[in-house]
Amino acid sequence: MLYFWKNDKSITDIKLINLLFSFYAEPHKLKMNYLKLKSFPLFIVTLVLLGCEKDDICAESTPTTPRLIIRFYDNINQESTKTVTDVVAYGLNEDNTVVILNNQFVATTDSLILPLQTDKNSTRIVLHKDYSIDDNGTPDTNDDIVLGNPDVITISYEREDVYVSRACGYKTVFNNISFSLENDSDNWILGSEIAPNTNVTNETSAHVKIFH
């Protein structure tokens, strides 16, 4: 019954279809247009490859929710940037509990890049200058004193959720941002500047200038 295959050594990809329709066919009656059907397996391979397309993972290079970029400038010569010594940023909830921000370390720098809250219309952040810890000469942390000058800023904005893609979903952009400084007896931040109608939609340039 299967011997007719041997007569068709040159044709391999058609065997399955032969098998499908021609169990009882006699070999001398087997007349098919092989060429037309040769593309069929190739077609299926193409489909399988298409099915494996990886657009279900949000690529890191995709611009998603932007972060706020702050640049520090000299209060006297307002055209030139000026570094802040040993500054660290951390978040502050409405009840004044501290939120540790990822990738924020004590550093002397002239710019900071900070995440904003995507579920509220404002974000409170502490910019802590000259941050250091006095451990009172003991290794335990109970009696440690945090030194330096913390200033609390509030960034207010209007949120807009913008569709990105199937894998990344939505991002939030922050429109019409405004800046305020909570007064304390010893503010190291002396002033700020935001261009009118500044929207945080990307991370390509600074959104806020802080003078000190």
Partner: protein, 239 residues
């Protein structure tokens, strides 16, 4: 997944064909009567997926009408509902579609068999809605709490038009009952997309891909031929 589905269906088809071989006819007459008529059927894969997959409901009726020895006009009509869900997005597409075109049989049957290996062309159209059930704002920096928005916005009145190349086979299982498998390669021509969202799934077309306008699909059909008249075909000359 698709690969396994295809091989499973081939195995099933072979099984069914083997059953269908009981009526072997050693007929040496020169002419055979060929049945012409309307073949009506449904897509079994959509019904199976409806049962298995909680995020999917689908139903399709298909039909073809034989015009000449190898040419058929063919069409499908159906409805689909599909929820696309991942970590950041959950949306449901729902709607109905119609496809029409031709099938051309490339297979030379022996004797009085009327099986098909065919290639065809379709133009498809769908009207549907998309509901954004919820989404979570994508943030690289997750210091602050993640914001999940339960949206529920329904974008209605969406539509799409596409073309399909279709390749498949149909085998007569028992008298006038056919079982078939086909794969479809699709390309969108136009579509109406929702504002601040996109068409993740189009009923009749299937899921969309970020890379462009192409899509794929497959069907596993069972159908019944309502014979209307018969026409003879000449047997190929004996060698």
């Amino acid at each position: 997944m698709l690969k396994y589905s295809i091989s499973t269906i081939f195995v099933l088809l072979i099984g069914f064909s083997a059953v269908a071989q009981n009526d072997s006819i050693a007929n040496d007459s020169i002419r055979y009567a060929q049945k012409y008529g309307l073949r009506l059927g449904g897509d079994l894969s959509k019904i199976a997926k409806t049962v298995i997959d909680d995020d999917y409901t689908g139903f399709e009726i298909n039909a073809d009408y034989r015009l000449s020895k190898n040419l058929f006009v063919a069409g499908e009509i159906g409805t689909e509902e599909k929820t696309t869900s991942n970590t950041y997005l959950n949306a449901t597409a729902k709607g109905s579609y119609f496809k029409g075109g031709i099938d051309y049989n490339m297979y030379k049957n022996w004797l009085n068999m009327e099986n098909m290996i065919y290639a065809g062309f379709r133009v498809g159209a769908s009207t549907f809605s998309q509901t954004i059930n919820s989404y979570t704002i994508y943030t690289i920096d997750q210091s602050w709490p993640q914001n999940t928005v339960t949206d529920g916005t329904k974008h209605s009145g969406l539509n799409a038009i596409w073309t399909e190349l279709i390749f498949g086979l149909k085998a007569e299982l028992i008298n006038n009952v056919y079982i078939g498998f086909n794969v479809q390669l699709k390309g969108r021509i136009t579509e109406k997309e929702p504002n601040n969202f996109e068409n993740l799934f189009i009923p009749g077309f299937g899921r969309t891909y970020d890379s462009g306008r192409f899509g794929i699909g497959f069907g596993y059909n069972i159908s019944y031929l309502v014979p209307i008249y018969k026409k003879t075909k000449k047997a190929p000359a004996e060698e």
